[in-house]
Symmetry: C2
Subunit: 81 residues, 2 copies
């Protein structure tokens, strides 16, 4: 049960970045998005992956690895503009 | 060590929403932000809190409780516009 709960939570927080990345890539519209947020968030998510490995929590590892893969394109577009 | 690592990760992913919420509240500019993202993200973060309680991970609980408190004002502004 706890692992399932974590996986549902993981799916939602990770998948939530899909509509955001689609919107940003399609419109190239990044007004309103904060560079500060995406810089700190990406660094933090990378550290969550490492934390997940140390505590052996698959939901923490998987969720954050996918989230990182979705956040980085947004961060790149924000930094470039 | 693992708990410290989790707390640093937690601090970064949570605090990252501060510049975003400040930007949105100050400018009332939500162009570029995805309603879909904030709806799914807030639901997922709430479930992470519950998961954190079940596995007894303080970093998971704390990080997500604060993140939720920062995301909800953004979601409210997005839904209202």
């Amino acid at each position: 049960m706890p692992e399932w709960l974590g996986l549902v939570a993981a799916f939602l927080t990770t998948a939530s970045f899909v509509p955001q990345v689609v919107k940003v890539v399609r419109t190239r519209q990044t007004t309103g998005l904060s560079v500060g947020m995406y810089s700190m968030f990406s660094t933090g998510v990378a550290l969550w992956v490492v934390y997940g490995i140390t505590i052996g929590s698959r939901p923490v590892i998987l969720a954050n690895a996918f989230t990182l893969a979705l956040c980085l394109p947004i961060l790149c577009l924000l930094v470039r503009r």
